[in-house]
């Protein structure tokens, strides 16, 4: 039996009090951990998913909605835009790359994205099995989609109209897809998508188009615009896309292009960096409020530990004096008391971290939106170490005043009072 063993024995001896103090501190730590994991993973995911995308062009509406629906695939699109926009942008010398997205259908809540192979390249997604789609109705499946649906190469599936998990949604039975490839995990939004040529989306929705229409769009845009007008006159649906992901070739484009598109065309240009910052600032107000509450919880826990130790030490003054008499040094006794505070704080911090991760895991398992955000209980943030350090500091500080009292106590007097 040692002095540190004595700390544990004292804590065990008043188990209910110990448990409540640990729980109080754990709740504060867990709240901070949840906020940290949520905001860090949200920001990380936002950053990672929008890497290499300088601008998104789509239908007029909310720019944030355009970004959320086109990059993060968590909101409904603002509408569709003419295929001619793709041509127009590809002709811009300040534009390095444009990737079209055609949205509208899903398979078991996973979005089917009509696009080009360049979209997979944007996220450095490699083919793990099979090959990239080469013709309409071939589909390449993201790793999470494959894991959750059990999709394999050559398997056929039918898309549902809409983006959600509505079981009553119209099934495109007559136009099944066939899985041509499976993507390796990337840790980005593409893991949760099903990629197919844009033409598949057009065909599913009965939109007539020439086989080479999109490929030749840039070379023959004038011809197609004219053809489009003719088709409209005849009541046919025009080939459209939902959004265009644009990468600039020059920094000058960042200044000129969004303004040009927003003012001069029927299109809308949104810059991910701007919209994400705006979103995080909005979310941040709520996060800050909860964070302040969590800090208050931790301080309350510290106060509770302080009161518990002070009360316990008043009852134990005789014990402490006796320990000094049998040879324990002042430093040893002070260490024992601070150790008791630290044990409480460490237990609270550890429990809080575990609880925080468990809540994140439970939330991700329960809410589709959070899972789609890529929220994971197994992700650890370095800043969690600082929360633990803060909790330990609170525990040590709470024990400090009782420890100083014991340090300064007159043993003979204490024993005389305790006799």
């Amino acid at each position: 039996m040692t002095l540190s063993g004595l700390s544990f024995a004292y804590l065990r001896d008043r188990a209910l009090n110990t448990g409540l103090n640990i729980l109080l501190l754990a709740l504060g730590v867990a709240t901070l951990v949840i906020l940290l994991l949520f905001s860090a993973q949200l920001e990380g995911r936002f950053e990672k998913d929008s890497e290499g995308i300088d601008m998104v062009v789509g239908a007029k509406g909310s720019p944030l909605q355009l970004i959320l629906s086109s990059i993060y695939h968590v909101d409904v699109p603002t509408g569709n835009i003419p295929l001619g926009a793709l041509t127009m942008l590809r002709q811009q010398p300040t534009v390095a790359n444009v990737i079209p997205l055609a949205l509208g259908d899903s398979f078991r809540s996973f979005r089917i994205v009509g696009t080009e192979p360049g979209y997979a390249a944007l996220y450095n997604a490699k083919i793990a099995d099979g090959r990239m789609f080469a013709k309409p109705f071939e589909a390449v499946i993201g790793s999470e989609v494959a894991a959750r649906t059990g999709a394999t190469i050559g398997q056929r599936f039918v898309g549902s109209h809409g983006m959600g998990s509505d079981e009553k949604a119209h099934q495109h039975e007559e136009t099944p897809f066939i899985v041509s490839g499976l993507l390796a995990p990337t840790g980005t939004v593409i893991d949760r998508l099903i990629l197919t040529p844009v033409e598949s989306v057009w065909d599913v929705h009965g939109i007539e188009h020439d086989e080479q229409e999109r490929d030749e769009a840039s070379e023959h845009s004038h011809k197609h615009e004219a053809a489009g007008r003719d088709a409209a006159v005849q009541g046919k649906l025009e080939p459209e896309v939902t959004a265009l992901l644009v990468r600039f070739a020059s920094p000058l484009a960042a200044v000129q292009l969004p303004n040009f598109i927003n003012r001069q065309t029927e299109l809308q240009a949104a810059v991910p960096a701007v919209e994400v910052s705006r979103l995080l600032a909005l979310v941040g107000i709520g996060i800050d409020a909860v964070r302040a509450f969590a800090v208050l919880l931790m301080l309350t826990a510290g106060l509770s530990i302080f009161v518990a130790l002070l009360t316990a030490l008043r009852q134990r003054e005789g014990d402490m004096a006796m320990l000094r008499v049998i040879g324990a040094s002042r430093a040893g006794i002070v260490g024992q008391i601070i150790g008791e505070g630290l044990i409480l704080a460490a237990a609270g911090a550890l429990f809080g971290v575990v609880l925080g991760h468990a809540v994140i895991g439970a939330a991700a398992a329960s809410f589709e939106e959070l899972r789609q955000m890529g929220l994971s209980a197994l992700h650890f943030e370095p800043a969690e170490a600082w929360i633990v350090v803060a909790a330990l500091a609170i525990g040590a500080f709470a024990a400090l005043i009782p420890a100083i009292r014991v340090f300064n106590a007159d043993i003979a007097e204490t024993l005389a009072e305790a006799r």
């Binding site: 039996m1 040692t2 002095l3 063993g5 004595l6 024995a9 004292y10 065990r12 001896d13 005789g318 014990d319 006796m322 320990l323 000094r324 008499v325 049998i326 040879g327 324990a328 040094s329 040893g332 043993i411 003979a412 024993l415 005389a416 305790a418 006799r419």
Partner: protein
């Protein structure tokens, strides 16, 4: 000044008090002429409440520095040592038994004794702990918490804790004041027996006249003597 009842001998002195005077708030609370207790002897410090027994015990154990005079313990000037050295001398030399026992309620009998051993020696020797518990007849209560012990069992546990470090001096402060006659006699028997078995010198401070006849070596403190000294 008080006149001690024992005679100085040529044997080795374990406690040697030289002209001790202690004042509290300007009032003399202990006044003692030269007095010594030789190694291996048993002595009783007897006196009513307020006669300075506890002050004397505190000076012997180095918990208090006398206002005047010198207290030597085991050949070292306990009263003149710096605090850390006093703590060390006490740790190495003295085992204390308190009136209220002061067993730590959160620890078992065994752990109370093991903690004292670890604090004093920096090491753990479970066999020695078990042996001392057996010697005081508490093997069957080794895992019991103090609150579950009878008064007699608690006293045995307290004595075992004082003896675990094999101290050269065992000091017991009012060990029988709360006990009935039979238990008081048993307590003194136990102190004598365990002190003798370890070769320890025994110093008992009490106002309990019932046990005075058990000690041939007595230091009698009286309040009237304090008034005279003042």
């Amino acid at each position: 000044m008080l006149v001690p009842t024992n005679d100085a001998t040529t044997r080795v002195a374990l406690i040697e008090a030289r002209q001790i005077v202690h004042r509290r708030d300007g009032r003399i609370v202990l006044a003692l002429a030269d007095w010594r207790l030789n190694a291996g002897e048993h002595a009783l410090v007897l006196g009513p409440s307020g006669s300075g027994k506890t002050t004397f015990i505190n000076i012997v154990t180095g918990l208090l520095t006398p206002t005047e005079g010198q207290m030597d313990v085991a050949g070292e000037p306990m009263s003149h040592l710096p605090p850390a050295a006093r703590d060390d001398l006490r740790k190495r030399t003295i085992g204390l038994v308190f009136q209220t026992l002061r067993l730590i309620p959160a620890l078992t009998v065994s752990d109370n004794i093991a903690l004292a051993q670890h604090i004093a020696t920096g090491a753990s020797d479970p066999a020695a702990v078990a042996a001392i518990i057996a010697r005081v007849g508490l093997s069957h209560r080794a895992d019991a918490k103090p609150r579950a012990l009878s008064q007699g069992e608690g006293q045995r546990a307290a004595i075992a804790r004082a003896l675990i470090t094999r101290p050269r001096l065992v000091v017991a402060d009012e060990p029988t004041s709360a006990l009935d006659d039979a238990n008081a006699a048993a307590m003194v028997d136990l102190l004598f027996e365990t002190a003798e078995s370890t070769g320890a010198t025994l110093l008992v401070a009490t106002h309990d006249g019932r046990i005075a006849h058990r000690f041939s070596n007595r230091l009698i403190l009286e309040t009237s003597a304090l008034q005279a000294a003042a």
